[in-house]
């Protein structure tokens, strides 16, 4: 789309997706470069979540092309585990964590290290958890044997983001990451996103209703309207009014 700089990490070209008779995504295209935060905004039902789920592998597109680091993802390969293997992770809005389990368990969700094939390698889990929390500069999580339901929403979301980047992901999809959080916790999470981007060069796809947050975090903003990625703006060239107009009217 805008061909400046290096080759994009991710390109999505003209993807479509229908559910029954409803065409949730009619024409979705965007790209993402290394270390970039791209926001996808749009009204309810505009297709932003569908687009995110196509990228995360949860939905297989009906048509269109997705390339990661120049390699096309075939429709047969299109799955969550394949996208994970390609370095794409998702942080969900409703804190996709297991509340009754500890921080290390949640960090290692789906990747629990084993001892002798059967047992949980708790030592390894704790060590890695401390490393990740340190990297993220999260000092508030101390007791690793507590279930995470005893932590604040911000701490929990930090662990969710920690999980997304702990495994060397290049692209993290943030699906309404602060919708469930208060202002202080929102600020904490936003700081985390910026830190991670600066330190690791991780790219983010931010899905958000919060336009102030979008303008704080995103380098580029993609507007979806009626299932089409209709407009794209750079951060500095957009005003709130302009953005609202694009979202509501598609212009």
């Amino acid at each position: 789309m805008n061909g400046s700089g290096a080759e994009p990490l991710l390109t999505v070209e003209h993807v479509t997706k229908s559910f029954g008779g409803v065409q949730a995504m009619r024409d979705g295209s965007f790209d993402l470069k290394r270390g970039e935060v791209v926001a996808i905004v749009g009204g309810n039902g505009a297709g932003k979540s569908t687009l995110a789920k196509i990228v995360s592998g949860a939905h297989v597109p009906d048509s269109g092309r997705i390339c990661i680091k120049g390699v096309e993802v075939s429709r047969a390969d299109h799955s969550v585990s394949h996208m994970q293997a390609c370095g794409i992770e998702v942080v969900y809005q409703d804190l996709a964590l297991v509340p009754n389990m500890t921080a290390p368990y949640n960090l290692f969700l789906g990747r629990i290290p084993r001892k002798w094939g059967l047992f949980v390698d708790e030592k390894k889990m704790r060590k890695k958890t401390r490393e990740v929390l340190e990297q993220l500069n999260v000092t508030t999580v101390q007791d690793l044997s507590q279930p995470i339901s005893s932590m604040s929403g911000g701490q929990q979301q930090s662990i969710a983001i920690g999980r997304a980047i702990a495994w060397g992901s290049d692209i993290v999809i943030l699906d309404e990451p602060t919708a469930a959080l208060g202002p202080n916790e929102t600020a904490e999470v936003e700081r985390l996103v910026e830190d991670v981007r600066d330190q690791h060069g991780t790219s983010f796809i931010l899905i958000s209703h919060n336009l102030d947050q979008v303008r704080r975090l995103a380098d580029r903003i993609i507007v979806t309207h009626h299932g089409v990625t209709s407009r794209e703006f750079k951060r500095d060239e957009i005003t709130s009014d302009r953005l609202v107009k694009a979202i509501t009217l598609g212009e």
Partner: protein, 333 residues
């Protein structure tokens, strides 16, 4: 969460929370003291405790099966019928193949569990409904297969017809005696503790009970996992059936009736919430023991069986009322 090193009133909220963890232990201690006070040496005798140690293993194994399932947030009320089915097939197996035929009994339990798991996971029918149907179906199957008669295990070689005798019988009957049955239960209990607390499978039980949706999101196959859980619990029921066969010396069509409720009660008395996500093997052992002791103690104290059932029901409600922090509960279903 917090240090208890503060010089606050003795019962701080944190301490009350911690105390709740110990309710099953306090309850069993109180129950023992109470019956000791009421019945004295008739209760606190080696003979009676031997009896209790004999009574507990079958219930304990069933409670372990239930614990696995309850931890994932499901429930299995078919395990009583499954026990009768497994005992019957175990006995038949011994008739057909001799000693090794007993394995058929264990596998039968695993099979019933697997069928439960498949119906629940693949057809997405709630576990309560599925296992209620299986409770009825499996019990009926046992009655059809057995034609309403029992298979007896006798040590004398002159037995005939549907009765098992000869080589297999004596060791099985000797297994049903006190030390052996207790040792079996102790070994299984230790194995269960390791399995539940230390393995990836055990952790996953809790995680599924905590937030199944998330596990699916990160690519864990919860559908096959649940089938495995029900099958593993079924194998445990099959093992309980074999222990019951050894103890009772017969496979009867009525075996295990209402035992599913005892197993759930034992799990609940052990402080495990039936909503899933949490659980403890040690406390389930305590729960099973408490249930057995109360029943035994009430009998010794001369309470009629029906009234002792009433007492057990009240105990169950009291135990849950105390061990759950109900102030945090907003919705009760």
């Amino acid at each position: 969460m917090s240090d208890t090193a503060t010089a606050q009133p003795f019962l701080t909220p944190e301490r009350v929370e911690k105390l709740r963890d110990y309710v099953p232990f306090i309850a069993i201690a109180l129950v023992i003291l109470m019956f000791w006070a009421i019945s004295g040496d008739r209760f606190m005798s080696v003979r009676n405790w031997t009896f209790i140690a004999q009574q507990t293993p079958v219930l304990l194994l069933l409670a372990f099966a239930q614990l696995m399932i309850v931890t994932t947030g499901s429930i299995d009320i078919s395990i009583g019928s499954s026990l009768a089915f497994s005992a019957f097939l175990g006995a038949l197996g011994m008739l057909w193949f001799g000693d090794v035929g007993l394995i058929l009994g264990i596998l039968a339990g695993g099979f019933v569990g697997m069928v439960n798991g498949c119906i629940i996971s693949l057809l997405k029918i709630p576990s309560f409904v599925t296992t209620l149907a299986m409770l009825i179906i499996v019990r009926a199957l046992v009655i059809i297969m057995s034609d309403g008669t029992s298979i007896y295990i006798t040590a004398d070689s002159g037995a005939s017809g549907g009765n098992i005798s000869s080589v297999a019988a004596p060791w099985l009957l000797s297994m049903g005696k006190f030390p052996a049955i207790f040792i079996i239960a102790a070994i299984v209990a230790f194995g269960m503790w390791v399995f539940y607390e230390k393995t990836v499978f055990g952790q996953q039980l809790r995680a599924v009970g905590g937030n199944e949706k998330v596990l699916r999101l990160v690519g864990i196959n919860v559908t096959t996992f649940k089938i495995k859980v029900f099958a593993a619990a079924g194998l445990m029921v099959g093992l309980a059936a074999c222990v019951n066969l050894a103890r009772a010396g017969a496979a009867t069509p009525q075996a295990g009736m209402m035992m599913e409720l005892d197993a759930i009660a034992a799990v609940a008395l052990g402080g495990t919430p039936l909503t899933g996500g949490y659980g403890s093997v040690v406390k389930t052992i305590i729960g099973a023991l408490t249930l057995t002791i109360v029943r035994n103690g009430l009998t010794i104290a001369g309470v009629p069986p029906s009234w002792s059932q009433v007492a057990l029901g009240l105990l169950l409600i009291a135990a849950i009322a105390i061990s759950l922090n109900r102030s945090k509960i907003e919705v009760v279903k």
